[in-house]
């Protein structure tokens, strides 16, 4: 700590230089923060999902709806506690840009397969009892200013009504919250009453349930129960693929492509450039101060403490830059609307800290080594 003024003095010697270096570092860490926040979303975004839930989809792909008649056979599989089903509705609200997920579900089954959603008892009854009832998540309702009792017109891109129109009207009977902060962040979805959906859509599509959501008695039986469900329907036209909800979610996000690779390539290039620039600045700064290091050594500073001083200087620069950049990334992600849930989490902070330490070592070591090796006579002569 007693060397702090010395380190500060060195960094403030040329204020412009330090400021510009900090700004470059900030840009690099801003990119790192944003990139890793997206990576977190893709790779680890499903970790909080229930470990006791399976999703049974058609083996061909999840866009092929499974028929409702599979329901009793899935319910009969040992270890299954409750089965719900959910059909992606694919509606847009007012304008094609207002797109958010809606699922047609059976209300009582939803309550039991997704206990994470909090909805008061009266709204629960209303959702089950209202033919064209719908419930919306808190974030979604706030985004569009919906209130209970509103009629929400949705234009489905996928489902046509019997009269040939794609315009569906739903009555909002409840607004649900999440059990905790994680789930609250996901409340930008909407559930629709399946019974009305099924009787109103074109006759050919009636009786298609979409995917089944299976809640287990024992989370340790995930693999066993999934295999048993799939075995029920093997070699039939309705072959199924059952996986944990986490796998389903990760698989869906991975469809977007090898995002992690592209992000890492960009970050790699950005970091390499910044490494070169900062390294040069550190080198330059040490070269200018050669006589000063000579003086320090005359005063009794050991070679090792001179090495430490330069490294500490590099560390201070890199950590400050990293803190500024990550702070900015944090502000940016916090300002994003809730439907883009990329956030700076603990994982991103750890990655940023490790990157800052490595960067400090790589750019600091060569000049520090040079400063350590200086002979007092040469240093004082400025050689």
């Amino acid at each position: 700590m007693k060397y702090l003024p010395l380190i500060l003095g060195a960094l403030l010697r040329k204020k412009w230089r330090t400021l510009l270096a900090l700004l470059s570092l900030m840009a690099a860490f801003l990119l790192l923060g944003l990139g890793q926040a997206i990576n977190s979303l893709v790779e680890g975004g499903a970790e909080f999902l229930g470990v006791d839930r399976l999703i049974t989809q058609a083996r061909t792909s999840f866009t092929q709806p499974l028929p409702l008649r599979l329901l009793p056979r899935i319910e009969a599989v040992p270890g299954v506690k409750r089965v719900g089903y959910s059909q992606f509705f694919g509606g847009v609200y007012q304008d094609p840009r207002n797109f958010f997920p809606q699922f047609a579900v059976d209300p009582p089954r939803l309550y039991e397969t997704y206990p994470e959603w909090k909805l008061d008892a009266e709204a629960k009854r209303a959702f089950a009892a209202t033919r064209n009832g719908a419930i919306a998540g808190r974030l979604l309702a706030e985004e569009y200013g919906w209130k209970v009792g509103d009629t929400i017109p949705l234009n489905s891109l996928l489902w046509q009504k019997r009269d040939g129109s794609n315009a569906w009207e739903w009555k909002l009977v409840g607004i649900f919250d999440g059990r905790d902060e994680q789930w609250q962040k996901r409340t930008s979805i909407m559930y629709l009453n399946f019974a009305y959906f099924d009787e109103s859509r074109v006759a050919g599509a009636a009786g298609l349930a979409g995917v089944f959501v299976v809640r287990l008695r024992d989370p340790n039986e995930v693999g066993k129960v999934a295999a048993m469900i799939d075995a029920q329907f093997a070699n039939s036209p309705d072959e199924t693929k059952t996986q944990s909800e986490q796998e389903f979610q990760v698989g869906f996000l991975r469809q977007i492509g090898d995002i992690a690779f592209i992000i890492n390539a960009i970050l790699g290039a950005a970091f390499f450039s910044i490494l070169i620039l900062t390294g040069f600045i550190m080198n330059q700064s040490v070269r200018e101060r050669v006589p000063e290091f000579g003086v320090l050594k005359c005063l009794g500073f050991t070679d090792r403490s001179v090495l430490g001083l330069v490294l500490a200087e590099s560390l201070a620069l890199c950590l400050t830059g990293a803190a500024l950049g990550i702070g900015l990334a944090y502000t940016v992600t916090a300002l994003l609307p809730p439907k883009y849930p990329a956030r700076i989490d603990a994982r991103v902070l750890v990655i940023a800290a490790v990157a800052a330490l490595l960067l400090a070592a790589v750019v600091g070591l060569p000049p520090a080594w040079r400063a350590m090796q200086l002979k007092i006579v040469d240093a004082l002569a400025g050689r």
Partner: protein, 393 residues
Amino acid sequence: MGMLTQTREIVLLNLRSIPSRLGASLVIVIGIAGVVAVLVAMLSMARGLSRTLEDTGAPDRVVVLRGGSTVELSSFMDRASSTLVRQDPAVARLPSSLPAASGEIVVVTEVMRPGQSTGANVSLRGVEPAGLLLRPDLHLIEGRMFRPGLREIVVGSAARGQFANLDPGSRLRFRGTDWQVVGVFQSGDAHDSELWADLETVQGVFRRNGVSSVLLRLANADSFDALKERLTRDPQLNVDVQREGEYFRSQSSGLTTQIGIVTSLVGIVMALGALFGAINTMYSAVSARTAEIGTLRALGFGRVAVVASVLAEALLLAFAGGLLGCGIAWLLFNGYSVSTLGGGFSQIAFDFAVTSDLLRQGLFWALGIGFIGGLAPALHAANIPVTEALRAR
């Protein structure tokens, strides 16, 4: 000496001395190369995607979907509509005197990415025999065409490159039935990401009566408006009629806009980072040359000449960095294949396209960074009092 001669001499003098400041110069070159490489690579991704989608479609081909459907996946037309649509007089006739029309069904199937346990959605397109005659660009590059009535599949070349188990001879399973891959086709457009099979065989296995879309060829490309008018007014039909190119362009617009926004944001942040670095490096280049600049000024060289010399150095180094960055982007990414989720929940595979206008754009960014980065240090150099500059070590 006139100002122009002065400027020329001092610029040349300065540029000749760059090798003696190689370290500092390389820093600018490499820093800017990094920015330009990333920028050009990201732009080439957006370009590759839009090129693949926009190249799909001939002016005389028309896609008919159910009214209100934006993608084939959500469009269902019954057999009666499919038959009625192709009776329109504007539709060309094949040598067999049948209408040049193909009813097609698109269903999404899951295939594996190599080395991953999660699946990727790929479109399986069932086509009528006329579907192949309607698309002369499409040709087999391996194996043979599927035979009607058999569960045989030909795969697009891009799909084969991106996903596992699509080589000729391999078997796929859909809804409890076995399908054999018998060939690979290439058409140079979005269809390369699809699997193709016989329409009626697909209908049978997926239990569907109708089709998703009908592709028509016009006898005369100008008769599109009349055809559209007749089909959309026909009370027996509820259809949307689009030129094939229009349909595929509408599939790409959302995705290319998103990639464009991300690219600009990343590009701007990276460019700022490199800019601060360039300013820093040019300042130290100027401070290393302070005595030299003082001498020149004492000899009678003007401020403008000094400013020009510093700016010329910054621009030259930035240009070199830009060239290097473009080279890296071209070598690493030109033709690099990726796939992502396109319209209709299925994968679209495309190649990065590093085109000459993107390279020009990259160089333009490099010069911009060089200019802005060099300006402040150049003005600073010109404004150091001569007496002070001469005393610098």
